[in-house]
């Protein structure tokens, strides 16, 4: 069992903190990353159950990250939940291999539900 089954990649610190709080309230342990390098560094030693990432990050595209994860044997089974405020993002994110997509801004109930769904499906 990992210390942090959920890893968050979000370059907006306040938003990232909000997501961590929201999920913590529902009993999930989330490790947030602001920098992509740190995120990849963490993944070298750890395999989380779920990665939540924004689509548009400063200096990177969440979809490319998703594709990279899905391409590597070690990380290909990790569930990826993608978020974006971009109205047309959903289809391209799912194409990139994301397991689920959430529009920003989101409803807490809906968002936590999605996370639970993804973690549950993995348990099966």
């Amino acid at each position: 069992m990992q210390a942090y089954p959920i890893v968050l990649l979000e370059d907006d610190e306040d938003l990232g903190q909000m997501v961590v709080m929201m999920l913590s309230m529902k009993g999930h342990s989330v490790l947030p990353f602001l920098q992509i390098e740190d995120f990849w560094g963490h993944l070298e030693q750890n395999i989380p159950q779920l990665i939540i990432t924004d689509m548009l990050l400063s200096g990177a595209d969440g979809r490319e990250i998703c594709k990279e994860l899905k391409a590597a044997e070690k990380t290909k089974d990790i569930k990826v939940l993608m978020m974006s405020a971009h109205p047309d993002a959903e289809a391209s994110c799912l194409d990139a291999g994301a397991s689920a997509f959430v529009h920003k801004p989101f409803d807490m109930k809906y968002f936590v539900g999605k996370v639970n769904d993804l973690l549950d499906s993995q348990d099966l």
């Binding site: 909000m18 709080m21 309230m25 405020a85 109205p87 047309d88 801004p105 807490m108």
Partner: protein, 905 residues
């Protein structure tokens, strides 16, 4: 002086000018010495000369000193020899013609004979110039006391006037000659007792085998002794008794091209009379050799000379004494278009002719039986139906016994000749008709004297009175405007040099009213057989009206062009098939279009590749249907860049509704487009950037709500709910902005879900009721309606319509949502009792960023994009939206959606 006067001979004391000049001259200074010393012989001759009224001149003595009388004086003219040559040595006085007259004088003096010269050209210096003067004169010797010729006596008459008149007459004769030249009969005019050939036409020359130049002015005996021998007695006979003489089939052997030939002629000699005297004979003759030879052959040989007959190009028929055809030659069958000789053999000859000709033919046959030869021309249709004209000669055949029991008929096909005659006759009639009915003037210019004949209408057209006579070439060109004159002359010359039709357009200023008119003239030269032009004849038309109309058209066209070129737009017009026929300068400045060789250009090269297919298809469709063409597209500039243009093209129709032209324009909307694009990008960026902090705010709010719920802090819960609602509104506004952006950039995606419309409406209404606490929302349920559409988008439509109704209605008023099925459509209505919408505004409310203004310029919150989004979504579903509204009463918005989505537009 009195003494000296009395010593003068009486003839020098008279009042004659020359008598005075002789007596006043200082003769002592000359070789003759004073008058008193003059020999009697000289004085006698001088006496005759001075007193005579007849022009006389005397050369006297070794120096040939000159004397003349008053009669001679006018021939010396003014400013010339008179009076200086009186008493002057001949060589000095007549130096310019001394080479002509000195030999004559010498001849008279040495041979002692008189000479006679008629109409001799002896140019002399008079009237300040060397003039061509014609003289008839006689030189005779004058003897001195010793009986030796000592002088030359000259009687002389000036005949210049007579010679010129004769020349003029000859010129008139020339015209006559031209007329005769084309006549198919030979004509020769002989003049005088020695039968000088004065006139001969081309037919006669051809028969004779000679050149005109070798014959004219020569006596017949000189050019053709062999003919003269035969003809001379006949000519003499006519000259003598002045009666015409007709001879048929005269056998004439003569030299033709170095060979002696024998020909037979039918001849008529007609006397030519001048002032009651027979001065010449006109011989008119036709060559009848062929028919004579043929007949002779037949006469000489009962078997016929087959070769002569068969080789004859004409149709030869032999008829028996009953008129039945017994023989026809091969060529005859051919030109008569008869296939088998049996078709006509044994038939009466006249039965081969049409009813009208029958009697004439029969009469000719009967005459032939009487020994008379007949020539006639008649019309007959061949068995194959070809209408032909025939020249027929019917002659008796005399057998060895001198009896006539057969007749020979020679028919020559003259259809072509007849036809050309008829054609020219017809042409003349047509021309006359045409000129009379149209406003056409006819004219003829006679080349020999440049006289101009004009029809009455022509004169009127040119501003001359219709009875004005004696018009000349000058009357034509003197009223042509200076600018056009040279060109008009050039055209006259050109037509002559190139032997082409004369055609010219020029302006004249009418002499009667000074009005300037445009004239078009057409004409043709006619030449004589020597190829010299005789006349130039044709027609003239006043084309002022047409010219003015053309000019006006050109001016209005120029106006249009100027106007078109001053426009900032690209404007053009096309033919009904879309081919560009006019475009303004702006097109050249603007577009990178490559012009086609004919000056037009096509769209495909200049429309941006991304739009070119749509453009071409759209244009093609419009050309087929006649619909208006409206497209936004990029157009290539000269520098290769593209700019956005709005191109609109409308069909122009004639009164029958057929398209005769397309008028189009392209307006540069590039700046507008770029502005819109920047706006779109801004909105897109802004909405995205706005959503991120909202996501945080909304998230934290929800976390707080959760906490407050756990701590049961009702006040905070209430505050947080309100905050959440406000954040949701903000989120929706941002979403709407994004939607507009996507719609405008063509990026709206419509999904297809199958769902129950009743359920969706019920849920949405219930959701919204929780927010809209001040209004009563009601939903009248209907039958269950299943629909295939984008569920989220339809929800958006409903939300927008209901929130609009809430926004524009006073509190407590009802808002009714209803749903019904009509045919294959679902009809969703939202009715309110709000402020309503003006009729004028109703059309505009579906535009983006349009907001209805309320009372006292009160504005309602929002971007004014809700209804725009609704309309776009409904349109994307293949549906329609309608509005029914009355100011201050309320509005009903009705959405019609197809139950099953058709192809998305």
């Amino acid at each position: 002086m009195i003494q000296s006067k009395t010593s003068l001979p009486a003839f020098l004391q008279g009042n004659e000018e020359m008598a005075r000049l002789i007596r006043e001259k200082d003769w002592a200074a000359t070789s003759l010495g004073p008058i008193e010393s003059w020999p009697n012989s000289l004085l006698t001759v001088l006496g005759i000369i001075v007193k005579s009224k007849f022009p006389m001149f005397l050369f006297w003595g070794p120096e040939l000193v000159g004397f003349y009388n008053d009669g001679y004086r006018p021939s010396l003219g003014n400013n010339g020899k008179h009076p200086s040559i009186l008493g002057m040595p001949g060589q000095e006085a007549w130096h310019e013609i001394w080479h002509i007259i000195k030999p004559l004088i010498d001849k008279v003096l040495t041979e002692e004979v008189a000479t006679w010269h008629e109409d001799e050209l002896v140019p002399i210096y008079r009237n300040g110039q060397l003039e061509d003067v014609y003289w008839t004169f006689s030189y005779s010797p004058v003897y001195n006391e010793s009986g030796k010729p000592h002088g030359v006596f000259v009687t002389v008459t000036e005949t210049t006037q007579k010679v010129f008149t004769q020349k003029k007459l000859a010129l008139t004769g020339e015209n006559l000659k031209n007329l005769f030249s084309q006549t198919p009969v030979g004509i020769i005019v002989y003049k005088g007792p020695s039968s000088i050939i004065e006139l001969i036409n081309s037919t006669a020359l051809e028969i004779w085998g000679k050149q005109e130049a070798d014959l004219i002015g020569k006596p017949l005996f000189e050019v053709s002794p062999e003919i003269n021998q035969q003809i001379e007695p006949l000519l003499a006979q006519v000259m003598q008794n002045g009666e015409p003489l007709t001879i048929n089939e005269l056998e004439v052997p003569y030299q033709k091209a170095g060979e002696l030939v024998t020909a037979y002629f039918d001849l008529v000699f007609r006397p030519i009379e001048e002032e009651g005297q027979t001065t010449g004979v006109m011989a008119v003759f036709t060559d009848v050799t062929r028919s004579v030879l043929t007949r002779k052959a037949i006469e000489q040989n009962e078997q016929f000379s087959h070769s002569v007959l068969e080789s004859n190009p004409d149709c030869l028929k032999v008829l028996n004494d009953k008129g039945i055809v017994t023989y026809i030659n091969k060529n005859g069958l051919h030109i008569k278009e008869i296939d088998h000789i049996e078709d006509i053999k044994g038939k009466y000859w006249w039965d081969l002719w049409g009813t009208t000709a029958k009697a004439t033919i029969k009469a000719a046959f009967e005459k032939a039986l009487q020994g008379e030869r007949t020539s006639l021309q008649d019309f007959c249709i061949t068995p194959k139906g070809t209408p032909k004209w025939w020249d027929v000669s019917v002659s008796p055949l005399i057998n060895i016994n001198g009896a006539i029991n057969q007749v020979i008929a020679v028919s020559r096909d003259i259809t072509a000749v007849k036809k050309s005659q008829e054609d020219s006759l017809k042409m003349a009639q047509y021309l006359k008709l045409a000129t009379e009915s149209a406003e056409v003037g006819t004219w003829t210019l006679h080349m020999h004297n440049m006289d101009l004949e004009w029809s009455g209408l022509h004169k009127k057209m040119w501003g001359y009175s219709s009875d004005s006579d004696n018009l000349t070439y000058e009357d034509w060109h003197k009223i042509i405007l200076p600018g056009d004159k040279e060109k008009a002359f050039e055209k006259v010359k050109e037509a002559l040099e190139n032997r082409t039709l004369y055609e010219s357009v020029y302006r004249i200023q009418r002499p009667n009213d000074q009005v300037i008119r445009w004239i078009k003239s057409l004409g043709q030269y006619y030449y004589n057989d020597k190829g010299e032009p005789i006349i130039l004849t044709g027609v003239s038309i006043d084309i002022t009206k047409e010219r003015l109309a053309e000019q006006q058209l050109m001016e209005s066209e120029t106006d249009l062009r100027t106007m078109a070129n001053s426009m900032p737009q690209l404007v053009w017009s096309t033919a009904p098939d879309g081919k560009i026929i006019f475009y303004n300068d702006r097109v050249n400045v603007y577009s990178g279009a490559t012009q086609l060789p004919d000056g037009s250009w096509t769209w495909d090269a200049v429309v941006h590749p991304d739009e070119s297919e749509d453009f071409a298809l759209g244009w093609k469709k419009c050309l087929q249907t006649g619909e208006d063409f409206v497209k936004e597209h990029r157009l290539k500039m000269q520098n290769g860049d593209y700019r956005w243009m709005l191109t609109i093209c409308y069909a122009n129709r004639d009164k029958d509704g057929a398209i005769n032209k397309w008028y189009g324009s392209s307006t540069d909307i590039h700046e507008l487009k770029m502005h819109e694009k920047r706006k779109d990008e801004f909105i897109k960026m802004a909405s995205h950037e706005l959503k991120t902090p909202i996501t945080s705010i909304k998230g934290y709010l929800q976390i707080l709500q959760q906490k407050m719920q756990e701590e049961k802090d009702l006040v905070c819960q209430q505050i947080l709910t309100t905050l959440d609602r406000q954040v949701s509104k903000l989120t929706k506004l941002i979403s709407d902005l994004l939607d507009v952006t996507r719609i405008e950039s063509g990026g709206m995606v419509v999904m297809s879900d199958s769902f129950s419309l009743n359920e969706l409406v019920k849920e949405t209404v219930s959701d919204l009721q929780t927010i809209a606490k001040n209004h009563r929302l009601s939903f009248e349920e209907s039958d269950s309606i299943e629909i295939v559409a984008d569920k989220e988008r339809i929800t958006q439509v409903l939300i927008n319509l209901i929130t609009n109704a809430i926004k524009y209605s006073p509190p407590k008023t009802p808002i009714t949502v209803s749903l019904a099925k009509q045919k294959d459509e679902a009809v969703l209505s939202v009715e309110d009792a709000g402020i309503g919408i003006d009729k004028a505004e109703q059309k505009r409310i579906f535009e983006n960023f349009y907001r209805v203004s309320g009372k006292d310029e009160q504005t309602y919150p929002g971007f004014g994009i809700g209804l725009f989004i609704v309309k776009e979504i409904v349109t994307h579903h293949g549906g329609k939206i309608e509005v029914e509204s009355e100011k201050n009463k309320g509005s009903i918005f009705r959405v019609r959606l197809p139950l099953v989505q058709k192809d998305k537009s």
